[in-house]
Symmetry: D5
Subunit: 92 residues, 10 copies
């Protein structure tokens, strides 16, 4: 089942830089693993912002929440989830 | 180049039903043709709303505007365009 | 799977009253049938507004969209859908 | 009497982690006690957010405020309360 | 139990003037009757707007909704209800 | 002359607790004195929020500003003032 | 006592042009009379919009509401009133 | 002096098409004349919307308002004006 | 040329009080000097808020920006500028 | 290809002043280099705000994101990007 997820990252200006760099590296590993297993179907950068628009393919809401809430940068992200249904004009 | 496009359709309650059904049929044909030629890469329904979230792949802004502004339902749609850049963690 | 759905009804002041009364009666029948079969789990009135807050239990997004978009008052409603996950402190 | 309550938790990035974990544990105990006595009728997680949507059944506004304002995480929460009336199409 | 209610009246420019004047007269009668029986405790005009801020004293949410939704101008009003609790610094 | 005033208190999570408790005690004394002299006509808690809705009766704008800006918690409050006129349907 | 008033005029596209021109002429006469008697102290056009920002000097809220609600274009205006107090740095 | 102007055109669905086409043609002529004389310095289409972002170079606010309010589509446009100052890092 | 300027002051709760009092004193001196030379034509307090509404009379946008950005409290202010044109009904 | 970019700079009040001055100097150098090579086509100050409105001319979204995200003040900026298409009434 598909979900549209927008994540905006808010970096506090007085966060410890080394700790944050580590979180970013962990986030990248996690994002790539989830893309490889087909869960994180698309991952795009919103041009000009520290934000992404993503499409997730997961069995249900609980699975999506478990994934999002365990992302390393989750405490710094503002997330909006939109459930996507099949469009009657879609051909895929 | 990829663009994220959200389209919300506003149907005036006193629109002529036959005219509107014709516009919807035309819109569907056009959307499917654009999907087949690879321009309209993804088309999803926002669950519970007369709205879609789409991904377009076009050469430039002018090409996107030409497509969107010639959609049969364009006069009834509120459209927001977001340019998408490559995400550094994307694997595709 | 549970979804939180808020529906606000907008009645155009120049709608035909008889037609609208019929739609309301049809909506009521449909809502009660969906409650009886366990799909529309909760239905509450937002105090002071022509609006409801509801909980739906359906297999997936497509099932929810099919139900909502076929409600008799759908053309007059502004709907917001929020997917609900299990809360770690919930006891049910 | 029923109230719809949405609670969004804002965690300051420089809060003391041990203190916050203790508050979360206290909050969980309190939430479960209130569910067991029938006051906190429903408790759902908003998918992808550190937020919940809840239904409370209490005698009056004062009782609700006393409960919410004594929650351990209350100082970190943004709360919106909506009073719920019986819906004329509800069958329960 | 006290509720804070803000009502904004939206008058469509093409409404029938005679019908609207009758609704306003009916609304006034109803508002005064509810004030006399102690239900509509306060009724103030928002300066410069066709809107009021009111305090209602009713047994519960259902009673409030029954009153508001039967006001003659209800179809033309945008209403926001806020439940009021006792303030710990209030002396009355 | 009557004014509707909504005050939302924002407590920084790293404020000194002892200092803040003193400010709250001072605020309570001041609020009760102003109620006793008829200036602060009504004081209600917004259910579920650290906020109040109040009605002030003062000679003019300057008097209201002098009172509000000298409240002990003023530096922590977001205040919105609405001037109230007599409603043509009010009976008091 | 001074009030800051912003008025935005909304002209329905299907209003009768002759009727509207008459209302505009009446509005102008009324605005000029109120300026001459010192009530409407300042009247400025918001550049690029059918809107004005004004300063009124009236005895109280009721007087202001009586003036605004009797303006010929009142049914077509969205009005926001802000009470102005003396600024401690003002020299006049 | 430079002004940033965003114009959003709202076309009522029941406007007379011939009349509107004439207004659009008149608007185009006027826009091109103003560009040729250096007043309307830039004119861009907001991709996907019936809207433009423009830069005007005029002597003062009154000159800008006179131009905008006499545009043929003015009654159908929502306009926001932002005055632009020289940027200390600009090299032109 | 006239500009309408609204300034909202945001005081961080952990700012150094002595430094802030000095900035306020400097701001007052500057505001009074600008009023005396006719630049800062009006200065009013928004009742109940640490904010002002002002009218400036300056030759152009650059002059206004130079003045505002050199105000001692500028780093703590959220400022909105609205260019004011002559109103056709104004008599001054 | 043209993009409209608005950048609002948020300076935390407790940032190290020397570090921030260095970032501003670096930002200025970078902005001027990008203007000289034709990438940053226009750069204007929003009057009264620590913000700019800019026009960029770059090959694609990725190029724009690379530029914006490497600006020295990027961590302190809130950026909104709008893709600009050719306007049918533009003469250039």
């Amino acid at each position: 089942m598909l979900y549209h997820v927008q994540m905006d990252v808010r970096v506090p200006h007085d966060v410890d830089p080394a700790r944050f760099e580590q979180l970013k590296a962990d986030e990248k590993s996690r994002a790539q693993a989830l893309q490889r297993d087909g869960t994180w179907r698309h991952l795009w950068r919103v041009t000009g912002r520290y934000a992404n628009i993503s499409i997730f393919d997961v069995p249900d809401h609980d699975a999506l929440h478990a994934i999002l809430s365990s992302l390393p940068l989750y405490p710094f992200m503002d997330i909006v989830v939109t459930p996507l249904a099949r469009h009657p004009s879609a051909i895929d």
